[in-house]
Amino acid sequence: MRYPTAFLVLATALGCGLLAAPAHADEPAASISEKPPPPPPSPARRALATGAAIVPGLVLHGAGHAALGKWQIAWPILGVEMLGLGLGAAGAFTFWYSGAARDLVGPATALTLVGGGLLGFSWLADVYGVLAPPGGTGAPDRILPHVEVALGYRYVHDPRFSYRNLAGAALDLRLRPVRLSASAWGALDAGNQRLRASVAYRFLGPQPFKDKTAPAEDGSFVEVSLGVTHHAYQNEGFGLTLAEGFAFGRLDLARLGPTLEGSFAEMGLGWALGGYDYAHAPGEAASLLLMRAAIGIYLGSPGDPHGEVSLFYDHRHDDYAAGLMMPGIVSGVLGHFGLGGTFYMTERLGFGLEAQIGSAVVAGFSLRYRGGMR
């Protein structure tokens, strides 16, 4: 593995969070019965905390919770910020000092991105914690379906390609800790298809129902996946095929404190290796650093209409959104940003929405079905 340092950091960060029990579970039941919960903050204090989460909270993450008097949550948030700053600075310094040296640039970029992701998490978590209603915005599925199917449409505006309208389908099959996934997207108005298949193993976290096994404590999980993606550009005469390994995890932020109940953070790192094939030239190898960071919230709770939405950064430069266009000296380095979510109106039927911006703008809608929850 080329990025042991970055994976170690990621594993440590996720591990620390996952080893911590959910915040509501570490309070003895007796204390709950003996001490009534503190009254919710007054509207004025909440407004003050919201302001503090922005100024000085934009710099000092956790200031919003401090303004609420929730120091036991403010400190961990500040700690995550400091960790993010430290990792980001270490990565950025290595990147700069080495002149993006070929043997260091992978780990340096990974560290910088992980650090940046943690910085985003800590600030947005602080803002969420001061704004969210008591009990949070929702709760996760602690049992996953065996089968999940999506049929979708995407509108892609990339001024350098002719396709605009895509249709696609995705399938997830889960058997205990193993997930098999496949997806296919094709342009309706050009010769362009993106096909993907992957297998993932979940070490911990929600899984399909199994007799005599308790549901997961919350939505947190850790999994690794191996996948292959082939993207064919018939109109342009080339294709790109990548095989990848990816380690990914989610942490329900309620583990940091009850005000964060209903929110989660995700991070993953990986590496892809493959190659281009050209109509007028021999094929060539290609490699890609993979990284994804997301922070999101659950909407509603299982049993009622519910789902989740997340804001994410994806370092992929090879999908429809690809890398962010930025004027100036950093253009080309960053991946894309997006907002996406799924929502199930019934136990089985739901929909998904997505929006991404990178080299292209992508907006999509999908209808979703899932089965085998029991």
Binding site: H157, P159, E236, A279, A281, L288, L289, H317, P327, G332
Partner: protein
């Protein structure tokens, strides 16, 4: 509804074309007027620096220029044409609209690559001016140098120029951009002053640092970011990839340039490479998809070599089967442990169009 949907995406589309303004500004390069004169340089191959009373000042982006000039009745009787960044042996031919050739006085410039010419208007109002070196169509082999990414090392660039000047076989320098660090007018001004010691012209496209202070400064000084010229039967196509992408308007022009270059040796240069030889770094186009599409077009167009800057080291590799060179050895913060410091690359093209590259280490 459909219109509203497209309007929303058009709003975002501005973010998807960060180089769109530069592609538009490119089209303004090569035009100038004032003091009774209107100048148009064909294909924008020179920046019209000034049209003064009785004098035209140009910065050449190519060895061969063709200019069309119209003078109003009140214009000065005789005009000076001062061309900076010219081949030192280039001569100016002035012809009237009817094809009559006008005598031109030539005088030495203030530095090796400045050429000064003077011609009378007489009764004529419309002229075609042609600047050409004597070897413009010579089919024999020649050499040029590739030098990019000077940036903050402008104070130390003179020793690179001295090394280039010591090789009389180098006909000109081609640059894949990042002449300056912050892209300010002051830096561009300083860069052109430093160039005065160089014995050969410096034809460049722009890099991401050259646009850091905003679009338009580079074009005002050094002309178009995307253009093509032909010298001694070899086509040179320079593309503006400073925003890690190429603008759709430039792709439209590239189609024609690739058709023109299909049957001759064809050199393509741009600052940010479509693909980084170290994929995890991605000092390359923001979209791997665009990179693949561009490289397939270059391969289909039978491009012979691609030259890049941006990465401050030296790499020889292949993209879509086309030999590729990354050379960012102008002195900007170097890639450590790459085994190379400041350098430039020489490219030799023989009479059959075959190319051979070499590296000249300066440090």
């Amino acid at each position: 509804m459909r219109r509203a949907w497209h309007a929303v995406f058009a709003l975002f589309a501005g973010c998807l074309s960060p180089g769109g303004d530069r592609a538009t500004l490119d089209l303004e390069v090569g035009h100038g007027e004032g003091h009774g004169a209107q100048v148009t340089v064909e294909e924008g191959l020179a920046a019209v620096r000034a049209v003064e009373s009785g004098a035209l000042r140009l910065w050449a982006s190519a060895p061969v220029l063709t200019m069309r000039v119209h003078f109003d009745d009140g214009a000065a009787e005789a005009w000076d044409v001062i061309v900076d960044n010219s081949l030192p042996d280039a001569a100016l031919t002035v012809a009237t609209k009817s094809g009559e050739v006008i005598a031109v006085q030539t005088s030495p410039g203030e530095f090796p690559t400045q050429r000064r010419f003077r011609f009378p208007l007489g009764p004529n109002r419309d002229f075609v001016l042609s600047l050409r070196p004597p070897d413009a169509d010579d089919p024999n082999s020649f050499r040029f140098a590739l030098l990019s990414d000077v940036q903050e090392a402008l104070d130390r660039v003179q020793d690179i120029y001295a090394r280039i000047d010591a090789d009389p076989s180098i006909r000109f320098v081609l640059s894949a951009g990042d002449l300056t660090d912050k892209g300010t007018a002051e830096e561009h001004d300083r860069f052109q002053k430093e160039l005065r010691s160089l014995q050969v012209p410096f034809y460049a496209t722009l890099g991401n640092h050259d646009i850091a202070a905003g679009d338009g400064i580079y074009q005002r000084y050094f002309g178009r970011g995307s253009f093509r010229f032909v010298y001694r039967g070899v086509q040179f196509t320079l593309l503006d990839s400073a925003s890690a992408s190429i603008e759709p308007a430039v792709y439209d022009m590239l189609s024609g340039w690739l058709d023109e270059g299909r049957n001759r040796a064809h050199v393509v240069a741009m600052h940010i490479p479509p693909l980084d030889p170290v994929g995890e770094r991605n000092a390359a186009f923001g979209s791997r998809n665009e990179a693949g599409a561009l490289l397939e077009r270059l391969a289909a167009g039978k491009v012979d070599i691609t030259l890049y800057g941006h990465i401050h080291a030296h790499y020889n590799f292949s993209n879509a089967g086309i030999p590729a060179v990354v050379s960012g050895g102008g002195g900007a913060h170097p890639e450590k442990m790459a085994g190379i410091g400041r350098h430039y690359v020489t490219v030799d093209i023989d009479e059959k169009g075959a190319l051979q590259t070499g590296v000249v280490r300066v440090d």
